[in-house]
């Protein structure tokens, strides 16, 4: 029925034309071109939407990053500045500080989330009692908006009236300044980040563990392998793709944290909790130094992109 020995196309699957003659190749090509244009027409609205809402703002911000523009000045306009916005970033103590604080925040939060999350995942996939209750309790932080979590923990960490200091007092530990201390404010913020996102890690890893083939575990049991050997030699290697995905997502999210810091410390005391996201917000939307803020945003984007690329390559290698 087909006119050629090529892989059947839609036109061929429609059968021979009514007049009985076989379909010629130009006609087939014409139909294929028409189908392609129809596809383009259907995709066009989505692509247009994406261009307008994502691509254009991205390119505009790139253009702004090469200009100097302080919108707080009356009648101000963007002035060409070349690479000076980027050059000034490396000389800016505030920017270097925010990079340092952000890296500490991300590495600490994600590492602890991963270790604790793995433990919780193993627990959640075991047959202990009250596992249902544990799973339900783990859902509570997830249900809370980050702003609400920040306000809640700000109250809990209050140096005089907070519950945390009250609990410490019960065991004889003196009240701590927490959010008022440069050495404790960042750990406090990291704690809240872990509290809120640990369940995500736990649930994803638990789902991954449950999808692993049971045969290997049975074989290991027959061979008399210990729990640690099973975990190290079977669970961990088999879970590698899931681990890579979880770490990638958590790192990207941790870099973008803003609400918790905004509500708990606003970057203080001093600039001890000023993440890069806070600095960009402050520079762009409080001080209206648009060029500087755009340059910071692009540096931020490139850093996250490089990290993501690293993890995606790992994932591809694994496959």
């Amino acid at each position: 029925m087909t006119a050629s020995t090529d892989a059947p196309r839609v036109a061929d699957r429609m059968g021979p034309p009514a007049w009985g003659a076989a379909t010629s190749e130009p006609v087939v090509r014409q139909r294929h071109t028409r189908e392609r244009w129809v596809s383009v027409l259907f995709l066009a609205p989505s692509i247009l939407f994406l261009l307008i809402t994502s691509v254009y703002p991205l390119l505009y911000s790139l253009w702004l990053s090469f200009h100097s523009w302080n919108m707080m000045l009356p009648n101000s306009r963007p002035i060409w500045y070349g690479l000076d916005n980027y050059r000034n970033l490396w000389e800016s103590e505030a920017f270097r500080n925010s990079i340092r604080v952000t890296l500490i925040f991300v590495v600490s939060a994600v590492t602890i989330e991963f270790v604790l999350g793995m433990g919780l995942a193993l627990l959640a996939t075991s047959r202990i009692r009250a596992i249902g209750l544990i799973r339900t309790v783990l859902l509570v932080p997830l249900m809370m908006a980050p702003v609400v979590a920040g306000v809640l923990w700000r109250t809990l960490f209050h140096s005089t009236y907070g519950v945390v200091n009250w609990l410490l007092d019960l065991v004889g530990i003196a009240p701590q300044p927490w959010l008022g201390s440069p050495s404790q404010a960042l750990p406090a913020v990291i704690t809240v980040e872990i509290w809120q996102n640990l369940p995500v890690v736990a649930f994803v890893l638990a789902a991954g563990i449950q999808s692993l083939p049971v045969d290997l575990y049975k074989a290991a049991a027959v061979d008399g392998a210990s729990s640690w050997q099973v975990f190290r030699r079977i669970t961990l290697p088999m879970l590698r793709p899931v681990i890579i995905v979880v770490l990638l997502l958590r790192i990207m999210d941790a870099f973008k944290v803003f609400d918790i810091v905004f509500t708990m410390t606003y970057g203080g005391p001093g600039q001890t909790t000023e993440l890069l996201s806070m600095l960009i917000y402050k520079t762009g939307l409080r001080f209206f130094q648009i060029g500087q803020a755009s340059a910071m945003s692009w540096v931020f984007l490139i850093v996250i992109f490089i990290i993501s690329l690293f993890f995606i390559r790992k994932l591809q290698q694994n496959e």
Binding site: S159, T160, Q176, P177, W178, Y266, G268, P269, T272
Partner: protein, 437 residues
Amino acid sequence: MAGNIDLTRRSLLKLAGATAGLAAAGRAGLAPSRARAQDKPYAGVTLRGLTQGGIAYNAALHQFSAEFEEQTGAKIEWDEQPWEQLMPKIQGELAAGTPSYDFFCNDIEFQYTIFPYLQPINELIEARGYNMDGFFDPIYKYGEGVAGGQEGVRYGLPIQVGSSWVFYRKDLIDQFPTTWAEYEALLESLTTDGKYGLSFAGVPAQLPKLFLARYWSQGDPLLTPDWKPLINSEKGIKAAQMLYDHMKRFAPPGILGWDNPDASNAFLAGDAAVLEGWSAFILPDLDNPEKSQVVGNWAVGRYPENGSGNFVQHNMVIFNTSQNIEAAFDFIAYCTGLDNAKRLLLDYNVESPRRAVWTEPDVLEQRPYLESVAEAYNVAKPFAPGLPQWLEMFITLAEGLSAALSDQQEIPDMLNDVASKWEELIKQAPPSFEYKE
């Protein structure tokens, strides 16, 4: 057929007559409405205003809007946004050339940036006979010529003023001190047995007002007339050191993480004998037995040696793109007029910008502390008046103070860094006018 309307010529004539009669009655009915419209000069006009969400005077604005509509026919629509969103919102609309508001209500400092888009109102004030008497002195001194180079040009009418107050426990303090030395001795005597002498909001943005009170009490301005910073002088170091000492010796631990409500709660709970802070966060609760342990035991003092925090005023301004400038002016004049000044103060707990009403006998009878506050306001100063870069300068000072108070940086180094940053910011757009306080 059954159910069909049988239209005869007679019934058609009746219908036509009835329709004509209704039309005539309608026109007659319109005539009284038209007469009513003349009493309501702005019937059909809708004014859109932008203001800060959650601020004390919003309830008053909504009530005044209803009254204004009743009197003039103009409908007022309000858009309330968090403070942080006000400037992005206005700037976004102005940059896009699509301003949708007729007027705006917030800090006068916004005018330093957006004055090219605002309507000067000097002529309207004169034409309408708006009463400009009885305001606090800073309203006259800092409310006109906001960009420095426009001497005497006024863009806004003030609806609220403010500066930080000093609340104290009158059951613990007989006579509030007038010198810093006496103040420190007092605070020391009250910091004992788990109680503290002093409470204040210690988050970065709330520290400058405390520093300014200690700095300005020494008499120097923040900058020279040609815009050179003076805060890193000996007086600046002394002021910052004083604040540091007061915090370390007399304030609860962890206070650098406290915001305004936290500081107020410490005073309300009876844990601190003196509170330096904004009145809006504590005044409504001071005599509420459900929230306060100090009912009837508080009073308001003045900073020693004529110190004061930065003076703030919220103005109502009109965009020059408004299609209803006269209606907008009449509305803001109504809200800020002398007639409503006492209502603002007594009914809505808004710090009215009219000093005249603060010291009226019936007002003082209800709120005796207002006389002391009025004296302080009359000599208060704003932060960097007229300078569009004011916010970045303010936050730079705020973060520097926070770093010094949390022992991350020595005070002289911090003040030098702040002064250096101020110079850099001023150089971005050197003002064409002299700095004066």
